[in-house]
Amino acid sequence: MKDSIRIAAGQGFWGDLPDAPVRQVEGGPIDYLMLDYLAEVTMSIMQKQKARDRAAGYARDFVPLMKQILPACVERDIKVIANAGGVNVDGCAGAVRETARNLGLQGKLKIGIVTGDDILNRIDDLLGREIELRNMDTDEPLVTVRNRIQSANAYLGAQPIVEALDGGSQIVITGRATDTGLTLAPMIHEFGWAADDWDKLAAGTIAGHIIECGAQCSGGNCQYEWKTIPDLANVGFPIAEASSDGIFVITKHEATGGRVNVPSIKEQLVYEMGDPRQYITPDCIADFTTIQLADDGADRVRVFGIKGRAATDSLKVSISYSAGYKAVGTLVYAWPDAYEKAKAADGILRARLDRLSLQFDQIMTEYVGANATHGPLAGEPSSDLAEVQLRVGVRGSDRTPIERFTKEIAPLILTGPPAVTGFAGGRPKVEEIVAYWPALIPKSEITPHVEIMEV
């Protein structure tokens, strides 16, 4: 059993820097590479892809990435843990196996496959047994959007990943697993932490929270002395150096840019935080008010003192449903009186939309450059602004009025206020809205399944 392991984060979201995982493997010693691919509505996109093509429905980027790094991972025994499986974990694992075989790695590794999160086909059964899957934010029962559901997945925790690692997997591929579980699992596997050792589980969970957004804890999007953060072009993604006692250090590879210090870690700790005493995961409840941080040398922060409590009896479920359509149109007005011109254009546009009697659930205007982000806090816009972008969005359940709206933007160029540009992109696109429905399900309803496949 090891005393300490290095877990590297390679993706903060699906679409993060493509080279980051490669640099984590090549830039210095690591034991595990953790890749988080699934944002809240990613599953619905994958569900749609799978409906069109039964072989699709997972993070396809993961396969060429494995082709690039797998030989080094096998040679140096770096384990890869990724929730890249989306709604087709088997398909993803099959593609990775084929890639591994093409690399001549047949017989040299095992792939762990974690499923059991997908409950899309069980919704009617669950609702029929009065498991209402109420929206955690609005308290509405799921039945109100029943016929518009596109995907439904329970968030699995660390335990099934641990099982896959215990079985000798070099790569573990999951569907909807928590970001934090991907990091906690190797610690449980290596250190043999008990399933009720809440303080240690909470520590591993918080390590996961810190590194799950990639470079956002190592200098990216960091306000503290941001101008002095070196070489973000070459930003180092974070590494959690975990020890069996539950104390860990956050760091990054040498000769990389960015910065890991107490302020950069604090900023990530408070990111997307609710009640800090109750950070609830499938594995435990972590108490963020117990976290202690200390400088541990250059680009190293030691994290200790963490307390946790017993996990709850529920798992979170992420459900996506179709929620109508939206479109956003923009135009740019130049000095002088850029803001006044943009406002006048908005008035003209709205009068035309009224005349067409178009019905929207919502219409919203913003003035980018004047106050789009800070609203009234930005104060009255100056008449001397170099330019202002008019940005008008509409949303509704019916596609037709949204489509009609998109034809009213370009005409403003020749029929509205002067000194206007910024319409190179053509008509705005109508977007189908896939909305997120968070709910809880009793843990007893979900049975994770682990399969270990020889390559």
Binding site: D137, K266, G274, E366
Partner: protein, 115 residues
């Protein structure tokens, strides 16, 4: 004297559905008690008038010299439903730092904020 929070704290914000969260972190640990006293939930609600349509909750993290605020009903429906440029509340952090708080001369002097 009036002091803007940019002199006292840094911040990061994000979203959970239609709720924005803002973590406000003291630039120095000895600024934290001042933030606890002055940057109340009610004060933040007032600051975000016209933006935050729901309640504001505040949580204390003395171990990090930080406060966490939840601004409910602030993101135009949240997630993919929102039409806002900042549908994920990423810029609420610096919007909060615009706030000015009143600090008495003696305390300002003790905290070396008076120059």
């Amino acid at each position: 004297m009036k002091i803007q929070l940019t002199k006292l704290a840094h911040a990061r914000s994000g979203d959970k559905g239609d709720t924005a969260n803002i973590g406000l972190i003291a630039l120095r640990d000895d600024f934290y008690p001042l933030l606890v006293r002055k940057v109340t939930a009610a004060r933040v609600k007032e600051h975000f008038k016209g933006i935050c349509k729901g309640e504001v909750e505040r949580f204390e993290l003395p171990n990090l010299s930080a406060l966490n605020f939840l601004l409910h009903e602030s993101l135009g429906g949240g997630g993919t439903l929102s039409l806002m440029t900042d549908a994920q509340g990423k810029t609420f952090s610096t919007a909060l730092l615009r706030m000015e708080i009143e600090v008495d001369e003696e305390e300002a002097k003790r905290l070396r904020l008076d120059h």
